[in-house]
């Protein structure tokens, strides 16, 4: 039993972190504050590095690591919140590979084919062989497919079968948001929920991203509390500030611990993997949203500006909370699951 990152996993984390830092720094436009088309070159490079197929078996064209390594990658995404359909790409590459569409899987994994996430706006709109209902579409620009993942099953729909999109500005300025109504659109691929655990995997990756957000805002707030001086002393000496930072640290630690516990539960085929995934999402959502709120507060007037990153972490957390269900749906699911092993 070991919940610490191995040296190899640590290496994955630092490689991802430094590449994201470079890419976000090198862009001539501030991609986290401006809706921008996906940089296809960057996206293909991530694909080449195996970022979208990290946990997919080598036999299915993946890198052959587990969900734990994917969670490590998504935690880094949460720490830096780059734009792009990371979740949809990772889940759809797996869905296509498991569904026997290896060519499509390869193209998504390589970062050549873009996939957007479509989230049902109500429980009646759901995935199936034929899809109807109203959906929120995340990062639909240039997407060739959209992915729908629900607890009942997952589907890929070709973008040309979608009909008209109604784009709308997103609370998170880096996210392309649109709504779309489908009536009987045929799925290019549909798999009912089962051993794939696609919904649970997605839930854990969302939780991992939120855990990364919680760690980023904890660090941002703590660093600021060390250097910002008022009344002649750093504000971090005050317990009102210090204890808030401590609470952020507690939330972040709980989120990361539970995310990795859940990811390993899936990798090891534990019977309570769904329980652990659900718990991870709930705990990580709290950690990110409460941490993001505290971070804005600790930054004072600066925290309220668009220029300060604090608002971006809050907004991304809200976007993540609306993908693959939400916290309320997760609470209602968790109470009905058998207890943890």
């Amino acid at each position: 039993m070991d919940l610490l990152l191995s040296d190899e996993q640590q290496e994955i984390a630092s490689t991802v972190a430094s590449l994201l830092t470079d890419d976000l720094g090198n862009d001539t436009i501030d991609v986290r504050r401006t809706p921008t088309p996906i940089n296809r070159e960057t996206w293909a490079r991530y694909g080449e590095l195996g970022w979208f197929s990290l946990g997919l078996d080598e036999g299915l064209g993946g890198v052959g690591y587990g969900l734990a390594e994917e969670a490590i990658l998504f935690r880094e995404i949460g720490r830096q919140i780059p734009p792009g359909p990371f979740l949809a790409s990772t889940l759809s590459a797996r869905l296509a590979a498991l569904g026997g569409q290896s060519q499509l899987a390869g193209s998504i994994a390589a970062g050549r084919t873009l996939v957007a996430l479509a989230e049902p706006r109500n429980p009646d709109s759901a995935a199936g062989a034929s899809i109807s209902g109203s959906f929120d579409l995340f990062d639909g620009q240039d997407a060739e497919y959209v992915l729908i993942v629900t607890p009942r099953g997952a589907a890929l729909v070709a973008a040309e079968d979608l009909g008209s999109l109604q784009p709308t500005a997103c609370i998170d300025p880096s996210v392309h948001l649109a709504t779309v109504d489908l009536s009987g659109a045929g799925a290019a691929l549909y798999r009912p929920a089962g051993d794939d655990l696609l919904f649970e995997r997605g839930t854990i990756l969302i939780a991992a991203t939120l855990a990364g957000v919680a760690e980023a805002v904890r660090d941002m707030a703590t660093e600021y509390a060390k250097v910002r001086e008022q009344f002649g002393r750093p504000i971090g000496v005050n317990q009102a500030v210090k204890h808030r930072c401590a609470d952020m640290a507690i939330l972040a630690e709980a989120a990361a611990a539970q995310v990795f516990f859940a990811a390993v539960s899936v990798d090891e085929g534990r019977g309570d993997a769904a329980f652990q995934a659900s718990a991870a999402r709930i705990v990580a959502t709290d950690a990110a949203l409460e941490g993001a709120r505290a971070n804005i507060q600790i930054h004072g007037g600066m925290g309220y500006t668009f220029e300060c990153d604090a608002n971006l972490f809050l907004k991304r957390s809200h976007v993540l909370d609306r993908q693959l269900g939400d916290k309320y749906a997760e609470l209602d699911r968790l109470i009905d699951l058998p207890q943890a092993i």
Partner: protein, 390 residues
């Protein structure tokens, strides 16, 4: 990263589970503190007979010498067997014993350690004073050297089981001339010494095993000093970090079981609306789900800190994170139980299993005060984990 236990740990789990099924005492008394003390001591004796006493103590001192992972296995299985804590024996097993092992003389060890392990004695803690709570180092109970004895005068407070204990880990001021952290001495206090008076204090939960202790020139031999004279602060601190490391593991692990029991109660017990089971109320149901998630994370945090302990050795200040999270969560669980009980929540001191939730709710208020308040834990996290300026 893995959740696999080694073959040795798995067979240890099997062994422990079977042994607990056959030997763990059943029906822990809920509201009768005298019976609870007898239960705890009896359980300690059973552990000794079975070779599990002092699970974390080194084998050379009669303990089990279990690895961190095996300690976890032990506590998980105890939780599963319905043994939520070791209240009466806590100080002896988790505090006094480890302190003697770390800093005691051979005579002190050979005299006291077997007694603690066998459940022959109860220890209590004489740290806090009316004027020295969170600021423990300001303590002023005086110890004056007189020949080969220390004469102690002053007062201690919040001494759990002070009325039942034979021994006390007693911090006294033996030198008031220097800084407050220096000049403190850690002594083994024999509670039967003349000049000691113990007065129970009734708690908000209606218990009275919480005491204040008065010393009027109570005399203790100098051979009862643990560690060096005037070095008691360091002696005490070395085991406080131990306490924050693994000593709370059992209650943390057991809390998961408590939450599951509460969910079971909510499924059958009529809730606040007087008509439906409590769980039919969306707000109660979601709060129950939330505690389920939080208690899962608490367990993951325990696993994480064991992983850290196994890799880096001594438990770090991160222990404060789990402790805080546990105290907060146990209070929320207690509060939630009150909502689940609905109209039955006001019934106090009944012997029924259901009403023990009320008692536990009231007791949960101690969790964020004892063993270092939550505010002090937040200071520790801020200062030592996050490196914030003091």
């Amino acid at each position: 990263m893995d959740l696999q236990f080694s073959v040795a740990d798995l067979s240890f789990r099997e062994e422990v589970r079977t042994w607990l099924e056959e030997n763990a005492p059943k029906d822990r008394p809920q509201n009768d503190r005298k019976a609870l003390t007898e239960y705890d001591i009896n359980w300690q004796k059973i552990q000794w007979a079975g070779g599990y006493a002092g699970i974390s103590w080194p084998a050379e001192y009669g303990g089990r010498g279990a690895s961190l992972t095996q300690q976890l296995v032990w506590f998980e299985e105890c939780g599963r067997a319905g043994i939520p804590g070791i209240d009466t024996c806590f100080v002896g097993i988790n505090h006094a014993g480890p302190t003697l092992i770390a800093s005691g003389t051979d005579e002190q060890k050979s005299f006291h350690l077997p007694k603690i392990l066998r459940g022959d004695v109860i220890w209590c803690q004489g740290f806090s004073e009316p004027g020295s709570g969170s600021d423990l180092a300001s303590l002023s109970t005086r110890g004056i050297i007189d020949g080969d004895e220390l004469a102690v005068t002053g007062q201690k407070i919040w001494t759990s089981f002070g009325d039942k204990a034979q021994y006390q880990e007693l911090l006294v001021r033996t030198d008031a001339s220097g800084s407050k952290h220096k000049g403190i001495t850690w002594i083994i206090g024999d509670m039967s010494a003349p000049g000691i008076e113990v007065r129970p204090i009734e708690t908000m939960a209606g218990d009275a095993d919480f005491c204040e202790v008065f010393y009027d020139e109570a005399r203790f031999p100098l051979t009862s000093v643990v560690g060096r004279l005037n070095d008691g602060w360091n002696v005490a601190m070395s085991t406080l970090s131990f306490e924050r490391g693994t000593a709370f593991m059992l209650s943390q692990v057991a809390l998961a079981q408590v939450v599951e029991e509460l969910i079971d109660v909510a499924r059958t017990h009529t809730g606040p609306d007087g008509r439906r089971p409590a769980i039919a109320d969306d707000e109660i149901s979601r709060h129950l789900a939330q505690t389920r998630a939080d208690v899962a994370a608490l367990r993951a945090m325990t696993y994480l800190s064991i992983s850290r302990g196994a890799k880096y050795g001594t438990p770090g200040p991160e222990g404060s994170i789990s402790k805080l999270r546990y105290s907060d969560l146990s209070q929320r669980v207690g509060r939630l139980a009150i909502d689940v009980l609905g109209h039955d929540a006001l019934n106090f001191r009944s012997r029924s299993q259901l009403h023990s939730w009320v008692q536990e709710y009231l007791r949960s208020y101690a969790a964020s005060i004892g063993g270092g308040t939550s505010e002090i834990q937040r200071n520790i996290i801020g200062d030592r984990v996050l490196g914030l300026p003091r």
